[in-house]
């Protein structure tokens, strides 16, 4: 009744090799000792849940650990995030979150921004599957908010 793999090949943009790689072997999953930021983000609609821990030093991310469970997109996205943020200032993280939001909505993203995103660009295919955009943004938005709040509280 169905036409086999031909239908699934259309998902290749969603599940790029980089995405599947991060999904299968997520980066920076080691819990952080006495973290400065410790937050749970979840999307009750899909049941995705992530535990994000950060050590912040001088307004920049010194260490990150992200664990959780979710679909391939949310897990890969969390792993890509964990890879990106280490060493970044809160402003840089904020700018990256902003560009990824635009990337997923199909809005303009400059070449310089793409350079910063690197492998994260692989998430671009998600925009053809609008119901999955939330999966890709879950950990990003949570971390961005937490970082802003933390640094705000510190008065940086």
């Amino acid at each position: 009744m169905t036409g086999g793999m031909s239908g699934l090949d259309d998902m290749n943009e969603l599940y790029e090799a980089i995405i599947l790689d991060h999904y299968r072997s997520p980066r920076n999953t080691v819990p952080v000792d006495s973290p400065d930021i410790d937050l749970e983000v979840n999307n009750p609609f899909c049941g995705d849940e992530f535990h994000i821990q950060l050590k912040v030093d001088d307004g920049a991310v010194a260490k990150v650990g992200i664990t959780g469970r979710g679909c391939a997109i949310s897990q890969a996205s969390a792993s890509l995030l964990a890879e990106l943020v280490e060493g970044k200032s809160s402003n840089e993280v904020h700018a990256a979150v902003d560009s990824i939001r635009r990337l997923l909505k199909g809005e303009d993203v400059t070449e310089e921004e793409r350079d910063v995103l690197g492998d994260i660009e692989a998430l671009e295919g998600v925009r053809k599957f609008p119901v999955r955009i939330k999966c890709a943004l879950l950990s990003w938005v949570g971390l961005d908010d937490a970082l802003t709040e933390h640094l705000g509280a510190e008065g940086v």
């Binding site: 009744m1 793999m5 239908g7």
Partner: protein
């Protein structure tokens, strides 16, 4: 066996499929396999025609005109009520109140009957396998009234654990609110037994029949249900309309739910008196067109015979359970014995998240539900955060189940590439 159960039309799936225009749609270039019937069913052309006929031929307001159209609209609206009342074997048509959906029916009972009859020190008993719509109104009421909310547990086998029912339902139990059939596990619950227990202590039983009325012959008198709620959209009817059945004397004693036109008998500048049943609970211009189309949906099901509908779904469920359980990496939530469940099968794949599976099946034209199915506490109790769900109806076939099984295997192949 009554006419409702036996049916007058042969149960011919090909002929049934021909009545559903949407089934000829292609999804992502593939034939549609619609397995999300527990969320909402598809609509046959007879129901769609009832809607367009109404708007093209009869449209007028009800209960307030002497002109021909208003009289015809009123007759159509009331005839549809008579049909749904008979469908569930309600003794009187006035016992069937039109609402927007199951959720509104449940909220109506919470806001009116329960507001008057449940107080401090009393308890309300629900089950661990309720839809959010049959949990949250009672949580809210319990908090407001200082009433205890008690749960009958779901066993690991997916059946309701009734071992402690005689201590959970006690002399302070005012209400048992239970789903007839679980929208996650497919479990069919022992409603008649629970009705007997709660009646023995002077309480009432409310049955969430959203998943049962569309699929099996439901008889409110046989169950001895005091209240019973369901939605038209899950039983071939339109969205935006549902039913609250209540025993006449209970409805009669209840305060109104909303206030406005149609629900009053007499209004002075100071005060008002309430109209008779069922109008006391139908404030304002009702959903006339959708009520009439719900009548057409009931006609369609009655023609097929609810026993035939149930037999068809039991056959599909048994076949699907056998096929799904034969897959290595999949487990099914709820009763493993098809005889103890309806055609709702929630399953978990060991390595593929339900959302990824849902997207991959959609690419193959197969519509399933993924997520928590509006039953978060239940899904979590199986130590998962989400599940995939396939649910069947009259137009589904074994070859569509084969397509699902094949689709799962294709997805496994895709993700292990």
């Amino acid at each position: 066996m009554s006419m409702t159960e036996a049916g007058t039309r042969a149960f011919d799936v090909d002929a049934i499929r021909a009545d559903f225009p949407i089934l000829s749609r292609k999804i992502n270039g593939q034939e549609l396999v619609y397995f999300d019937n527990a969320a909402t069913s598809q609509k046959p052309k007879q129901v769609i025609k009832a809607l367009t006929d109404y708007y093209e031929q009869t449209n007028a307001n009800v209960h307030r005109g002497v002109h021909t159209l208003s009289i015809e609209a009123t007759d159509g609206y009331e005839l549809a009520r008579t049909k749904v009342a008979k469908f569930i074997n309600a003794p009187r048509p006035e016992e069937a109140i039109w609402t927007r959906n199951t959720s509104e029916s449940l909220n109506l009972v919470a806001a009116t009957w329960a507001d008057v009859n449940v107080g401090e020190g009393d308890n309300i008993v629900i089950t661990a396998m309720e839809h959010h719509s049959n949990i949250v109104p009672w949580q809210q009421l319990a908090a407001k009234k200082n009433t205890e909310l008690r749960y009958l547990a779901a066993g690991e086998d997916g059946l309701l654990d009734v071992s402690d029912v005689d201590s959970i339902i006690d002399s302070r139990t005012k209400l048992v609110a239970v789903t007839h059939m679980s929208n996650v596990l497919g479990t069919i619950n022992p409603v008649a037994m629970l009705a007997e227990k709660v009646h023995a202590v002077g309480g009432v039983i409310l049955v969430d029949a959203a998943q049962s009325v569309p699929h099996m012959a439901v008889d409110v008198q046989e169950l001895d249900a005091d209240f019973l709620c369901f939605s038209a959209h899950k039983m071939l009817g339109p969205t935006g309309i549902g039913v609250l059945y209540g025993k006449y004397d209970l409805l009669e004693a209840m305060p109104p739910f909303m206030f406005g036109g149609d629900m009053i008998l007499e209004v002075t500048y100071e005060d008002a008196t309430w109209n008779d049943l069922p109008y006391k609970f139908e404030a304002g211009t009702p959903n006339i067109a959708d009520a009439i189309a719900t009548g057409a949906a009931v006609d369609y099901l009655v023609d097929l015979g609810m026993d035939n509908v149930w037999a068809h779904e039991q056959e599909l469920t048994a076949y699907a359970m056998e096929q799904i359980l034969s897959l290595d990496n999949v487990r099914v939530l709820g009763p493993q014995d098809p005889a103890l469940r309806g055609g709702v099968i929630s399953f978990i794949h060991d390595t593929i998240h339900p959302h990824d599976l849902g997207t991959a099946l959609d690419q193959q034209g197969i519509a399933i539900r993924t997520g928590h199915h509006c039953a978060m506490p239940l899904v979590r109790s199986f130590d998962v955060v989400a599940a995939a769900r396939a649910s069947f109806y009259i137009y589904n076939t074994k070859s569509e189940i084969d397509a699902l099984i094949n689709g799962i295997s294709e997805t496994e192949g895709y993700f292990s590439r």
